[in-house]
């Protein structure tokens, strides 16, 4: 069957997306698990010791993917928000709120691992480095989004308000990043950069990419699991839930 023959809009209704998501979860969980095994093997076993940073550099194998994913997830949230506002689809709002906690978690992990990397490399748990600071602000943006949705009782209003906030946020993220960069260069230049390792061996890059893909599969798995919960919670009263969700 060719792709164009599938009625994509069929899956934009929560009732038909619910079982589809349920079928996809084990697949993405498997992809995650396999990539994680390969990625960890490369990160911890195969990748050579870094000349400058010793074994401590291995933190970047989780730090960089977590940072990438936290930024990527925010963009995906903005994408779903735009779809939701433009086409008034219910599922896109649910996807946005399903992605937010995982994105916030990755932002937190990025800060946590960044801080653990900074202690031996910079000699301090926290340095006002442009990347770390922007990441902190991104974390605040996630928290703001989650708090806003939690404060609104009506799910439809929560979806739309969240969509506007995510879009305003995504416009601001580059401005914030640029301003923090600007602020940072005026005050002090960070000497060691996390991603600009002088001689990034191919194997290191490969490890980082595979870990990033593993985190991506993880994020999708979590988002699908969470969107299933959200669909059930919101449609508790409807007939199809009573019929189908008890399997």
């Amino acid at each position: 069957m060719s792709v164009s023959l599938i009625n994509w809009f069929k899956f934009s209704s929560p009732a038909s997306f619910y079982p589809l998501a349920g079928r996809l979860v084990p697949w993405f969980a498997t992809i995650f698990f396999l990539l994680l095994c390969v990625g960890l093997w490369i990160a911890l076993m195969m990748a050579p010791t870094d000349a400058q940073q010793g074994e401590g550099y291995r933190i970047i194998f989780v730090h960089v993917p977590a940072s990438w994913m936290s930024m990527f997830i925010y963009c995906v949230m903005a994408f779903w928000s735009a779809i939701g506002l433009a086409f008034n689809t219910r599922l896109s709002g649910m996807m946005t709120s399903a992605l937010a906690p995982t994105g916030a978690l990755f932002a937190f992990l990025s800060l946590w691992t960044g801080s653990l990397w900074g202690k031996p490399m910079w000699g301090a748990w926290w340095v006002w480095d442009a990347r770390l600071t922007s990441q902190l602000i991104l974390f605040f943006l996630y928290l703001g989004f989650i708090a806003l949705q939690a404060a609104i009782d009506d799910p439809r209003r929560a979806d739309k308000a969240g969509a506007i906030l995510a879009l305003v946020g995504v416009i601001n993220v580059p401005i914030i990043y640029f301003s923090v960069q600007w602020w940072n260069t005026l005050h002090q230049g960070a000497s060691v950069s996390m991603t600009k390792a002088p001689s990034m061996a191919h194997i290191m890059l490969a490890g980082m990419l595979i870990m990033a893909l593993a985190f991506w599969a993880y994020a999708i798995t979590m988002a699908l699991m969470r969107v299933r919960c959200i669909i059930l919670e919101r449609e508790l009263a409807s007939e199809w839930v009573k019929r189908n969700a008890m399997e």
């Binding site: 076993m45 990748a47 074994e55 401590g56 990397w117 059930l232 508790l236």
Partner: protein
Amino acid sequence: MQWNSLNDFLHMGGYALYVWGSFGACALAMAVEPWLLGRRKQAVKERLSDKETD
């Protein structure tokens, strides 16, 4: 293979606290989140079956 012994591996060239602190936090987070989601799902299903018995 970069390591001569398990001890070597665990020691991480003196960066054990930082490396394992990072990987451990990620592992913990990625174990807790699915667990929380499982509980959330369970809670919804319980509410659903409560409704049916009503």
